[in-house]
Every structure is written in C-alpha cells, then in structure tokens.
C-alpha cells in the first residue's frame, strides 16, 4: 500500500524529530520522511495540515478475549477499537479459554488476526500451564509461534521458585516476562484500594503493599537471573520508587501504567459504580501524582490500557461481585492528550514516546518509529478537536468504561497500518486487513 501524508507536524521521538514534514509510504513501508515530498501519479494523499503525525501507537497490554470469551470481545471488535483509538499494534494477554499456553492457541490468534484484525496483533504467551502457577508452559514453542512476551496476567505467580525457573529458562528466547505484581495473600479478596475510602465504604481493601511486595520480589529475581522483567499496570508510589531504584542500578526492569491509574483515584469508587473496579485498584491522589511524574521522567516506559472488556451482566451487579477491569482502547489517547498534554503535565513528544518507542523496545517490536524502511504505521492526531466520550458508540463489544460523558480536547483523526487507512475521523474503513 502506498500513501503520502502531507503538511503535518511530524513527531518521531525515536529520531528526536519534531517539525513540519511529509511522510511517504511505499509498499507498506516508510520510504521517505522530509519536506515537500512528491509521489507517483495515483498515490493517495492525506492532507495532515494542522495535525500531528506520529508512529502508530502500540498498546502492549490488552485482553481481546478470543478464543473463549467472544461475548466480551473478539479479535475483530477489539482491533476495530484499537484502530479507532490510534493503535496500530496490540499485545493480547494469554488469559483466554483455552489459555494461550501452547503453540496451537498462538497460531489460532494470529490466524484470526490475519483474517479479521484491523491492526497488528502480537500474542503474549502464558508463563505457566493454564495460568495455574504450578508448571511452566511450553515457553520455547510460544516464542517460535510468534509470542512477544510471557505473562500470567490477571493472576500473580505466587511461587517465587517457579518464576525464577521461568526467568532462567527463557534466556535463549529473548522475550520478557510481564508480571502481574500482586501478592494474593495481602490482596486477600479485596475489591478496591485499602485506604480511608475503603474504610468508609466498608469494601475490602487491597493494600499498596500487595503490589509493592511483588514488585520488590520480581526486581530481585530479575537481578538474580539477568532476564528482563516488565511490571504491568503499576499503580502505587512505592512501586514507582522500587522500579526507579532498580533502573538506576542498571537492572533489566521496565514498567507500564494505565490511563485510568494516571487519571482516577479511589474517590471514584464512592459511587459504587462497578466501572471503577479494576485490578490493581484505583489508588490515592499521591499515588496518581507519583505515576504522572514517573511517566514524565521515564521510570514508567509505556502507557498500556489493560483493555479488559466485560459484559453488562458481569458489571451490573453488587460491587463485591463485579468483574475487575475496564475497556481503554478507544479513550486512552484522547484522555491523555487532554489531561496530561493540554493539562501541562507531559509534553507531546514524551507522551508519544510512551505510546511508541517505549513499548516497542520492551517487546522488541519493529514498530514505534518512522525511520526509512519501518512499517508504514501512523497515527494522526487533531490536538484541538473536542468530543465527548460516548460509550454507546464504542467499537468494542463492551462498554465498561468509567470515562463515559467526559469532554476531551484531543482526537485520533486517522490511523494507518502498513500504508492503509484503517480509520479516519472516528470511522473504521476499508474492511479488515
């Protein structure tokens, strides 16, 4: 596919470029970036004047739910949501049914993604068989099959000895382990952050220590084995301190943060709205500030949505009984443009870096930059267009977002995958890839 994007402000954090430039994509790859480019007759041209052109965004943590939970989401609907949200690559977690703990499931996901996906899909394989935390999955075959990381996400690996063996065993394959850092004996059936709000509401709390104990343990195991460990959905100031310290010591530790932890706090739970229930839970104001600061200074490498679709029947119930998780693909970028960039907390190139180069480096993905020969994946942003989040119009099969009704300035105007426009002005186009 060929495409010429003209007249936009091109921001490519990988090269440090930030200025007016055109981008020419030929045969699905970036052919040239520079001023006043020309293309052969018949090449589609996009006028990006007044807009920001960036490498396609990468969401390294989503739950596409297929196979097994197609009533929540499918690869088709989840990747449509990704396209609308400005993501050209997503990494999907292994907690499907059956679990992606063997090559056959990986093959199935990749085949589905080829046939029905709107953006590129990178499966994450399980660390342990059936996510049980008892024995290793076939980690070598999962890597051969195209998995980009290993994770039992959704569940912690409580057995430190087993995680140590996993980290040793994966060394030949070069993939990181993504840790869902939660000590389940400390979390102890909690449903929200343990603090003054949980005390008021009488809901069982999950202390920050449940996360921090595990982050500390995982850092120690990263040091012991020398293998890369990535901490998923960091939510506490204490975890940030531990990660900052580990990075300063040169350990192979990386981390991500979600938009909801960057923007919301435990206060949101007061309504007993189950769309505020997620794991890890929304924390305190001080935690939120620490996360924003850590995203700015690079302690947190990536923004990831932890897109977790659930059906209404799983959410329209008592808070105790509601499923954990919120959808995020279609709101992440506008939310952070509005609250972090327009809010003066983060500059635009840094935010783009956390959506592109950050996750690409962690997962060793080819994308995340616009160097010559890179995949022709772009997102084009309209920084000033305002809109209101309307969950009823989500492409995702699920609606469980705490951000419905929020007015946001900053809009994902176009998404391009391999030179093909898959979304423009909020409408997906042209059929799946």
């Amino acid at each position: 596919m060929n495409l010429l994007v003209k007249g936009g402000r091109l921001v490519d954090p990988a090269s440090g470029f930030d200025g007016l430039a055109d981008c020419l994509i030929l045969n699905g790859k970036v052919a040239e970036v520079g001023p006043a480019l020309r293309a052969a007759e018949g090449t589609p041209v996009v006028d990006a004047a007044g807009k920001v052109v960036a490498p396609g965004f990468i969401d390294m943590h989503v739950h596409l739910r297929e196979p097994g939970y197609e009533y929540k989401e499918t690869i088709a609907t989840g990747t449509r949501a990704a396209a609308l949200g400005g993501f050209t690559r997503v990494a999907c977690m292994a907690n499907t049914e059956p679990v992606n703990d063997n090559r056959a499931v990986t093959d199935y996901i990749l085949a589905k993604a080829r046939d029905e996906g709107w953006v590129r899909v990178h499966p994450v394989g399980a660390v342990t068989r059936d996510l049980k935390g008892e024995s290793l999955a076939e980690l070598g075959e999962l890597a051969e099959g195209g998995c980009v990381a290993y994770s039992d996400d959704g569940r912690p690996i409580m057995n430190a000895g087993l995680l140590r063996r996993a980290l040793e065993y994966i060394q030949p394959f070069g993939l990181p382990v993504i840790s869902h850092a939660e000590d389940s004996t400390l979390a102890a059936g909690g449903v929200m952050h343990e603090g003054v709000v949980s005390t008021e509401l009488g809901l069982r709390g999950i202390p920050s220590a449940a996360e921090e104990v595990m982050v500390a343990r995982d850092i120690i195991l990263a040091e012991l084995t020398g293998s890369p460990v990535h901490i998923a959905h960091v939510s506490t100031a204490g975890a940030v301190r531990l990660i900052r310290n580990a990075k300063a010591r040169g350990l192979r530790v990386t981390a991500e943060v979600t938009p909801h932890h960057l923007l919301l706090t435990e206060e949101a739970v007061r309504s007993f709205d189950t769309d505020t229930k997620m794991n890890p839970p929304l924390r305190s104001k001080a935690d939120r500030e620490a996360l924003q600061e850590a995203l700015a200074d690079g302690t947190l490498d990536a923004v990831a949505t932890d897109h977790a679709p659930h059906a209404p029947a799983e959410k329209e119930v008592e808070y105790d009984h509601a499923a954990f998780g919120v959808v995020g693909l279609e709101t992440a970028v506008p939310l952070l443009l509005h609250h972090l960039v327009h809010g003066g907390i983060l500059d635009l190139p840094t935010l783009i870096a956390r959506f592109t180069g950050g996750p690409a480096r962690i997962l060793n993905l080819p994308g995340g930059h616009l160097g010559k020969g890179a995949d022709g994946d772009l997102v084009i942003l309209d920084l000033d267009r305002e809109h209101e989040v309307d969950v009823a119009r989500f492409a995702s099969r699920s609606r469980n977002s705490p951000f419905g009704g929020w007015r946001l300035r900053g809009f994902v105007w176009m998404t391009v995958v391999g030179g093909k426009v898959v979304q423009s002005e909020g409408v997906v186009r042209g059929g799946a890839r």
Partner: protein, 312 residues
C-alpha cells in the same frame, strides 16, 4: 423542615437537621406502642417491601411492625445474597419489584453498595437496612434516639465503640451520626479489627478497653461476627475467641473503671460471654431492650416521612 430525600442510604449523607427530624418524629410516633389498638392509618394503601437478602430477624421484624402499625401493606422477601449464583441478579430482582409498584423497598444485603445499586434502578424509595460492612443507618438512628432519651441531649457526649470496627456497618453509621450531632467517638478493639485510616473519619483509636471506657458516657459493644470472619480469605484476625473475650470483652470488673451513669449498648444479638458477660448485658447500665423498642419508633418515623408525611 420536611423530608426531601427519595432514599435513605447512609448516615454520611444526612444533615444534622435531617437526623433530628427523624428522631423528633420517632419520639412522637413512639406513643403508638402504648395504645391498646396499635394502628394509625398514616400509610394505608402504601406498599412496603422488605427485601432481606441476608439473614436478619431483628431488623426485618422491626420494619414489619413499624409498617403494620402505620397500616402499610408489608411484603417480606427473603433470600440469599448469592442469588447471582442462581441466575437472578439483584438488578433483575429490582426490576421485578418495580413492576409491582411498591412505595418503599427496604433492603438488607451482604454487599456494600447494594442499596445504592437498587436506589439507582428503582423509582420508588429505598431504605438501606444494612449493606455489607458499609452502613446501617436505621440502627444509628435508633441508637441516637436511645442516647438522647436517656441523656437528654447528644452534644458533647463521649461514646466508645468496641469490637470488630472493620466489618461493622453499625460502627460506620454511628460514627457519622454521632459526629454530626457533636458527640466524640473512640473506637477500640484489636488492631486487626480496626480499619486503616479510621482516624480520618474523626474518631480516636484505642487498643485497651479499660482506658477507652474510663470517661465514656456510652459504651457500644459490637457483635463479633465470627461466622462472617470465617468467610474471609484472611482467617485468624485474632488468635482465639477466648483471648478476644478476655482482652476486649466487657465484664463487670472492667466496668468498675467506668462512669456511674454510663450507658451500655449493643445492636444485638449479643454473644453472651464473648463481647460481653451476661451480667453486663442484663445489668442496670444496659439499654439493649430500649434500643429494640426505639428501633420500631425510628422505622415508623422513616416510613412515615418517606411516604410523604410531615415531620413533627
């Protein structure tokens, strides 16, 4: 001032004036209990549903009597909070109830926030009859009525609440109610049963009961929910019932250090010999049965006010 709320979900949300309105109305309705014919027509033609999805005899009976004395039609629905397992969600139940046009639904449920869920989805009034470890506003109202009757006032009084504060909706509702009406509150118990950051609710924390009760006007002992405790993933919040009752149970001996005019309260039912010895529960300081009597009065007042009656 009249009652303007559709629902009564928490003590936290009430203004002091609203609390006093309920207490004053309860005081004047209380006289019905002394009549030969205990019935007034105030709620004739109104339907009150008691939706009790957690075992309760006391609160349900209290609402039932309150409704009957006011001539309302009372429907009792009991069940288990885990009806989700049986395929009918609370929301399904709520929608089915709505279709039968009740005027007031009283809900008791094992999960915090269940009354909010119901209130959001029903057009009729909802009274929270206890939601998990969150709130039990009618209990706090009857406790305040009892204290005011016995002491003549509320402002400036010192209350100590002893026991499993972390899992107690009674403690939470009383903390809000007492604080709003100018009382000071100390919570006491083993540290594992005191919820984190409870001091931010404006209460003092004590670990030794002897010290906590020394200058208290009111000692409120909570029921130790040991059956609920077993359901928690965190078992063993204290070593044994024996040690609990020795250190935090209220005995005549510990009471010697308390004021002569102290009131001893308990939301019931009492675990005699665990949180308090029988001599204390049945002794001269105890106002436990007055609490039960006032429970009916407070619930009459609420049903009356929420069905549109003008306060006293």
């Amino acid at each position: 001032m009249g009652w303007r709320r559709k629902d009564l979900l928490t003590m936290r949300e009430l203004e002091p004036g609203e609390i006093l309105l309920v207490l004053d109305t309860a005081e004047s309705l209380k006289e019905i209990a002394t009549r030969e014919i205990k019935k007034v027509p105030a709620l004739r033609g109104k339907t009150v549903v008691n939706l009790f999805l957690e075992p309760s005899t006391r609160t349900r009976t209290s609402f039932e009597i309150a409704g009957k004395w006011l001539s309302a039609d009372i429907i009792n629905i009991s069940g288990s909070s885990s009806s989700v397992v049986k395929g009918e969600s609370l929301l399904d139940t709520a929608k089915n109830l709505e279709a039968m046009s009740p005027d007031i639904v009283v809900i008791r449920h094992a999960s915090a926030g269940a009354a909010h869920l119901l209130a959001r989805s029903l057009r009729c009034s909802v009274i929270n009859g206890g939601d998990g470890a969150h709130e039990h506003p009618t209990q706090a109202l009857l406790d305040l009525l009892t204290i005011r009757e016995k002491k003549g006032h509320l402002e400036g009084l010192k209350a100590v609440i002893v026991g499993d504060i972390a899992r107690s909706r009674v403690a939470r509702s009383n903390i809000w109610g007492m604080r709003k009406l100018g009382m000071s509150v100390t919570v006491a118990g083993p540290p594992t049963l005191i919820p984190p950051h409870v001091g931010e609710l404006g209460v003092k924390v004590a670990y030794a009961i002897e010290e906590a009760i020394r200058d208290a006007d009111i000692i409120m002992m909570l029921r130790l929910q040991h059956e609920r405790q077993e359901g928690q993933m965190t078992t063993g919040l204290f070593p044994s019932l024996r040690e609990y009752s020795r250190l935090w149970g209220l005995t005549l001996e510990k009471l010697r250090g308390a004021r002569d005019d102290v009131l001893i309260m308990h939301p019931g039912p009492v675990n005699r010999g665990i949180e308090m010895s029988p001599e204390v529960a049945d002794g001269p300081y105890s106002v436990i049965l007055e609490q039960v009597t006032n429970g009916v009065a407070v619930r009459m007042a609420l049903l009356y006010l929420m069905a549109g009656g003008k306060g006293q």
